[in-house]
Structures are given as C-alpha cells and as structure tokens.
C-alpha cells in the first residue's frame, strides 16, 4: 500500500482531514498552508476533475520539494482554462510550449538545472491524455528511455475535451465522443502506465481524484526518486462524459471500485502495490450515470458491450489482484 489505512477514527482513511488526527497524518489538502498551485478564477467547468487532480498533485509536489518546483504544461484543457492571456491561475513557475513536446521541454529544464547545479529544483511535466498518449507520446517515451530527471503527470479524462470531446487513444471502448458517435471501438487504445513500466523507469503509479491520501503518497514517493517517473491520474470530466458536476469524485471512485481503472504503483518495472477494491460494484454502476455510455442502455440494453466491459474489469481485478482474498 502506498498509504496505510487509518484505524480507530470516525473517518480519516478516506476524508481529506480529520480534526482528531495528528497533522502529519492529514493530507496536504487539509492544510490551510497548501500552495493552491492552481488558484481560484480558472475557467475549468463546474466540478472539473482535472482542475482538482492538478491541484492535488502539484500541491503535494510543492510540499514534497519544499516549493522548489518547475512545471511544463502540454496544450489541453489544463493549459487553456488556467492561462487565458494575460491571466494565470498558476502559483508556481510554469511554462507552456506545444501540445506534443512537454516531455522534451521538461527534459530541457532538468538539464538546465543540472548545469546550474540546482539539484534542489525538481521538474514536472504535465498534460492531458491527448498530449500524453497521442501527440506527445514520442517525446514521453524518449524522456523515459533517456531516464531524464522529470516526473511526468498525465491527467487522463479519456478524450480531447477543450476542442469539443474528440476521441483519443485513452478513450475507452464503447464511449461516445464527437468523433465516435456510435461508441468507440473495442480493442484499441493505449495503456500508457503499462508502457511506462515496460521502460523500466524508477517509478510508475496510477491514482484517482477519489483517493486523495493515496494520490498524495504517490506524488511524495515519486519525488524520492531521481530519473524518469510517471503518474497517471484518472480525472473525470462532467462535460465530456456527461455526468453531473457534483458526481466527479463519485465517478472516479466507481472507476476504481468496479475494476475499470486499476490503481497501483510500480518501481523499476515491477508492480509493488495495488490499492484494493473496498466495495466491489458491477460496471453498470459506473457506466449508467455517464451520458457517453447512454447508448448502451437505451433504446435497448446492449448486454454484449456491457459484458465485454465487465470482462475487462474482471481481467483487471484478476491481473492486478484488486480484491482482498
């Protein structure tokens, strides 16, 4: 486990804070001194999972690096909604270049810091799934292969959202997007965390915005390594997925509890821990609240597609050992 469950408290393992817990057992987010790296006034949609995930991750990284942090940002929602010229929501040194070259830009920053002898300054590259799994994939793989001292964080909302919800290589099967009006096909897509592990880099982890303690522990752990590292965060998108704005955290929780999104961490090419499912649920519970899957339930229930998605979830549960046995 990335993070030990807290026992004998009313809450604590799952809530952001807890008045009864010693401060060191609470999250960075519970602290009034958190950086608020992504500040108020940004133009993300109501209930944006990516805005939430980015603040969670970057605040944790700022905390872990004593605020010696630089971030490069790929084009995408995160960049568009946070920095409409001339405003910025970022309260950290932050640079945007292109859609596809974030990993390379971050590599350059890391090299510059090394040249200046600033080993204390840590570098993060971040982007959405489009900038990571599609457009920036060559640069990302190169960064892994060269083992550049960068933590790459992908906020995965499973499509190109700011341009109008077009499919990406992270779009799940059967999901409807602007470019897959009858639902995305099965058997395609790209499992980037698995590809990252295959590069044998020091640290790879997946996380969701529904498990804050786990997410922060992973960012903290990533900062204990030098070299290339990768964290893939599942962030829900009320607009693109068609769910209620207040359901963002709930949907992310269901993605994990159904087995659709396995949460684990790997070091040096080997999975070292998985986050177990607490209350297992059928995939319908995850699919139904999202309009991008509405065509699976009406006008007629597409039992075959639902069964295939359930089989994918079951395979994840088996493969990663997601249930307590």
């Amino acid at each position: 486990m990335a993070f030990e469950p807290i026992k004998y408290y009313q809450t604590g393992t799952f809530t952001v804070g807890n008045r009864l817990l010693p401060p060191e057992l609470r999250t960075v987010q519970a602290d009034v001194r958190r950086t608020n790296s992504l500040n108020s006034g940004h133009r993300a949609c109501q209930g944006c999972g990516e805005a939430l995930g980015a603040r969670y991750a970057i605040d944790a990284a700022m905390n872990a690096t004593d605020k010696q942090l630089v971030a490069a940002n790929a084009t995408g929602c995160l960049e568009v909604f946070s920095t409409p010229y001339p405003e910025t929501s970022w309260q950290i040194p932050w640079i945007h270049s292109l859609f596809g070259n974030t990993a390379a830009v971050a590599t350059g920053i890391a090299a510059a810091m090394k040249a200046k002898g600033r080993r204390d300054v840590r570098v993060i590259a971040q982007g959405g799934d489009g900038g990571t799994t599609d457009i920036g994939f060559g640069c990302l793989s190169g960064m892994f292969e060269r083992n550049d001292d960068v933590l790459y964080i992908c906020y995965d909302n499973e499509a190109y959202m700011n341009t109008g919800v077009q499919r990406s290589s992270a779009t799940p099967p059967a999901a409807r997007t602007a470019t897959t009006s009858t639902g995305n096909v099965f058997g395609q897509g790209k499992n980037v965390p698995a590809i990252a592990i295959a590069h044998g880099i020091a640290y790879v982890a997946t996380a969701t915005i529904a498990e804050l303690h786990d997410l922060e522990a992973k960012v903290r752990r990533a900062m204990e390594f030098r070299g290339a590292r990768y964290i893939h965060i599942f962030v829900s998108c009320p607009l693109g997925w068609g769910h209620a704005s207040e359901a963002s955290v709930h949907i992310a929780r269901l993605a994990k509890e159904t087995g659709i999104f396995p949460v684990y961490q790997a070091e040096h090419g080997e999975i070292v821990s998985v986050s177990k499912i607490r209350r297992r649920r059928p995939v319908e519970d995850y699919l139904k609240p999202q309009r991008r899957f509405a065509h699976l339930f009406s006008p007629k229930v597409n039992t075959e597609a639902i069964a295939r998605i359930q089989a994918m979830a079951d395979r994840n549960i088996r493969k990663y050992g997601l249930t307590e046995d």
Binding site: I6, K7, Y8, Y9, Q10, T11, G12, T13, F14, T15, V16, G17, N18, R19, L20, R26, T27, Q29, A30, V32, N36, N39, S40, G41, H42, R43, A44, Q46, G47, C48, G49, A51, L52, R55, S82, P84, Y85, P86, E87, T88, S89, L212, P238, A244, S245, E246, A247, S248, V249, H250, R253
Partner: protein, 541 residues
C-alpha cells in the same frame, strides 16, 4: 514598462476572474437535527457530547451531557436507548453504543468526583418537588441550577423512586444511584424522606412555596380478578421488588409464576431466580412479538433460565398450583380464549400487570383533570391548577426512567419561566438529518463494541450487575463510530474537493465558509460531505 516583443499586457492573476457569476446553485452550510438527539426522551445533545468524547475530553462530554440530564451513570444502565434505535449507523453496520458511552462517562464522573457548578444567582423563589424519583430529581436539579430554592418531599425511606424500588440491583447497583443523587443534593436541594404529602395545597402554603412539581410515580400494583383459594399465595410485582430493598426478602417459594408481559414481569422473574427459585415462569396472554418488555431484557432473562408460557391466561389459583387457559390471537391480534386448560405447579403467583398512581394528594384541588388514573397536563407540564406542575409516571406518557427525567427537565424550565412571569418558547428545531443525506463511503468500517456480560451462573444466584461497562479505550473507539449526522465535524472534505479553492477553512472548531466570488456551484462539496451538512440552494437570479 517596456514589454517583450508581441506582449502588450502585464501578467495578471486569474483571481480577477470572479467565476462565482456562473453559479446557479449555491452551497450553504446547515445544521440538522441528528436522529439520536431527536429520539432522546430527556432531550440530550448526544451528538454534541459524543463529539467531545471522541477527542478524549470526557469531562467536557460529561458536562455537556448533564446540562440536560443529571443521571448519566443511571441512564447508562437503565435507559432503553431510543437514540440507538434511531441511529443512522444501523444503515452501515450497527448503531453507535451511545448507552455504553453514557455509562462510561457517568462512571468516570463518579470515579473522578466531578461536581455540578452551583448557580451564580439566586431567584429567591421556593419550589416544592413531590417525589424523589427520576422525574422529581431531574426537576429539582434543573430548578436548583436556575437559582431556585428546592425542597423534595419523598414518601419513601430513600431517594430514587422506581430506580430503587422497581429496578433490581443487578441492573442498577445502588451505590451508583446514591452517588448521582448525592451530587444533585450537593447543589443545595433539600430532601425530606418519609414525608408523604397528603394535601398539596396545604403543603404549598405551609412551606411558603411559589410552585410545585409533582412526580409521585405509579406505585400501586394493578390487580386482576383471579378466583383463588384462600391458601393461594398471590403477590404483586411492585411490592415484591420494593421489599427487595428491605431486610426481609420476599418469600416466593421454589416455583414462581409471574403474570404479565412488561419489563416489571421480567424483573420479578429474574429476581425470583436469584432468590433461589428453581422455576420462574412468566405467563403472558399474547406472543413474544406483542410483548411490551424490551427484547434485550427478555433475552437476558431467558439466558438466566426464566421460562415463558406464551398465549396463556391464569384462570384460577389454588395452594400449590394454578390453572392456565391457552389463548389464540384473532385477526386483530387480540387474544381469545380457547377453552384448553392446563394445571401448573406454583408456590406463588406474582402479578405484574402494570401500576396505578396514588393521586390522593390532589384531592379537592380545583381545575384538575384526571383521565384513566393519570393527571392531565398542558404542553408546559402544568396541571389545571396554576402553579402545580406534574410529570413522570403520574401523567400520560410512556413510563420509563428517561421519559421521567425528560419531564422533570421540561417542567423545571417551564416553572422557571412561570415564576418569572414569562412563557418559555421552545427553541425551533433543525430539520432532521436522515440517513439519505450521508455519504457513507467516508466512514471507517467499525463494528460495535459489545459490553461484557456477567457469567450466567453468577447471574442466577447473585445480584451482581449483569452488564459490565466499557473501559477508556473501547469507549473512545465506540464514540468515534459516531457519524455526526447533519452537523459538520471538520473532516476537511469540502475544503479539499473544491476544484476552485472556494472553501475557506476557518480553523479548528470554527468550521468553514464559502468564497462565493469563485464558487461555481458545482456541488462537489455537498456530494462529498460525509454527514450531509451542506445544502445546495437555487441562486436568486
């Protein structure tokens, strides 16, 4: 300022962009009435004192508790805890053991010698309390705290009422009762024992009292007509339990029949077992489901070897035996005779068919209304005679210690207002905090801590207390199972899950506020609030 090529504006912060204007729904923090508080007949702020106990502040918890109820150690033993029946945690695993924590706090107070803070002002008014049972003691306590001079006239030889003369020792050890009574008397309440009031108006006049609270209880055992031979031994439950407090223990014999289905019937049967009866058999005319006694008490009685003959009435009693008739329930659930008879060996028959109140002290008081043997009172607990209030078993209500304590408190507050020439307006209650408002995901899995129970063998032969208490560690664990339904307990969830940093954390004990300049009204805070303390309300546009 010279700007680089193609740059025409200074860098700015997104704080200039007030995204609050997007909002159609507005989150607001609310406080709701938790089901435990709502269900408590004594009106305790259970969630409030649990919150203090959760942080290990037991004295603070006890002090908050006794603002409403001066008898926590008694309550923790004899209360039928409707709070636990109402507890929302039953939808997760099992109810929070509120009663066991209350007992822990009560015992802790006795152990550590915590006292009540005496009133700072004196009103100069004198109030007479008739009866030192739960209701009278509770009223005396609250009246004394309000600064009134209180005297209790008790007809019996000791204080406690039914807590002493009705509830057996194995459920309520007398040293616990004595300690809690003594603490009330320490407030300056004067208790006169063996002083039966025969004419209330005369007592008021003689003692120069400004008001009276009557809580004489219901101590006369109801009789049922049973044809009996002259040598049949028939007793009533109240007298049996009463005589347990004296030197001469009641002689019940080896085979004891108890007639009735209430808690008193169980108390007598269990007492009979402890006095050496080989057989204690309860005869009850209806079924287990219809029995008014509490399930937990029946369960404990059965464990101790008490037997029950369901659907039976006593037709006849003779020396050494009784005849019972089998009953059946009709469509309406009423027992009807079947004509089937059976003879059972019996050395004595104890009638536990309910109690009546002795209302002789009210004779000749004008304006008073007695219906079904109990005194009618207005919602402010006043009888038809101005200045005379009444509560407990002598007024129409469920007859439990906790209800009595609640009456005492309520009456005391109305008496206080009445003495000042005012009318007490009850505080408006919050809307209920139903289980559907909770987000149970966030609560840790924690099964209820069971209180240890005395060995069955010792329960059949001694009057040692049956149910034992929790220790500090288990009490703390149990307190922390509280879900804090409907009221913020500062878990920081709203502060964490807001994608717009629009929640302001005000610091320990001060909760949170919304920054409506930036809140987009997404509703995540309300959805992820574990205890349902945030409402989304439509924005006036």
């Amino acid at each position: 300022m010279r700007k680089p090529f193609a740059i025409t504006l200074d860098p700015g912060s997104s704080l200039a962009n007030h995204t609050g204007s997007w909002r159609t729904l507005r989150p607001v923090y609310v406080d709701r009435l938790p089901p435990c508080n709502s269900g408590c007949p004594a009106g305790e702020n259970i969630q409030g004192w649990l919150a203090r106990a959760e942080s290990g502040d037991y004295e603070g918890a006890w002090r908050l508790l006794v603002e409403e109820n001066p008898l926590p150690a008694v309550m923790g033993r004899v209360c039928y805890h409707p709070c636990e029946t109402a507890c929302n945690r039953t939808t997760l695993d099992s109810a929070v053991g509120i009663n066991s924590i209350e007992r822990f706090l009560g015992d802790e107070a006795i152990k550590r010698g915590w006292r009540f803070a005496p009133p700072s002002v004196k009103s100069g008014k004198r109030v007479l309390v008739v009866g030192a049972g739960p209701s009278g003691l509770s009223a005396a306590y609250h009246l004394a705290l309000a600064g009134h001079e209180v005297e209790i006239y008790e007809a019996g030889p000791l204080a406690g009422g039914m807590m002493r003369f009705g509830i057996p020792k194995y459920r309520l050890p007398r040293e616990v009762l004595d300690a809690e009574v003594a603490r009330i008397l320490d407030l300056g309440v004067r208790l006169y024992l063996d002083r039966k009031v025969t004419d209330i108006r005369q007592s008021l006049k003689q003692g120069r009292f400004d008001a009276a609270f009557l809580a004489v209880g219901a101590h006369i055992g109801k009789r049922a007509y049973i044809p009996a031979g002259s040598s049949a031994r028939i007793l009533d439950a109240v007298s049996v339990l009463h005589s347990m407090e004296g030197e001469d223990k009641p002689k019940l014999g080896r085979r004891v029949i108890v007639y009735g289905g209430g808690n008193t019937a169980l108390d007598v049967a269990r007492t009979a077992r402890r006095l050496g009866a080989e057989e204690a058999l309860i005869v009850y005319r209806r079924t287990r489901e219809k029995m008014p006694a509490h399930e937990s008490e029946l369960e404990e009685a059965l464990q101790e070897g008490v037997m029950v003959k369901w659907l039976s009435t006593i037709k006849q009693a003779a020396a050494g035996s009784i005849t019972v008739e089998k009953m059946r329930l009709d469509e309406k659930g009423f027992p009807q005779p079947t004509g089937e008879l059976e003879t059972l060996a019996a050395d004595s028959v104890v009638l536990a068919l309910g109690q009546d109140a002795d209302l002789s002290l009210l004779e000749g008081v004008p304006g008073l209304e007695v219906v079904d043997g109990v005194v009618k009172v207005s919602p402010n607990m006043m009888t038809g005679y101005a200045g005379i209030f009444a509560g407990g078993d002598m007024v129409p209500a469920e007859r439990t210690v906790t209800v009595g304590v609640g009456h005492g408190k309520k009456a005391a507050r109305h008496i206080d207002a009445w003495l000042r020439g005012a009318t007490r307006q009850p505080a408006t209650k919050h809307a209920p905090a139903g289980a559907e408002r909770l987000n149970p995901w966030y609560y840790s899995d924690a099964p209820k801590t069971m209180r240890p129970v005395l060995d069955t063998l010792r329960r059949q032969s001694t009057f040692d207390e049956v149910v034992q208490g929790l220790d500090e560690k288990t009490a703390l664990f149990e307190a922390r199972r509280c879900l804090s339904c409907g009221n913020c307990f500062e878990c920081d969830n709203c502060y964490g899950v807001c994608p717009d940093n629009a929640v302001i954390k005000l610091g320990a004990g001060k909760r949170f506020a919304f920054n409506y300049d930036y809140c987009k009204g997404c509703g995540l805070c309300a959805a992820e609030c574990p205890c349902g303390a945030i409402d989304m309300v439509p924005e006036a546009i």
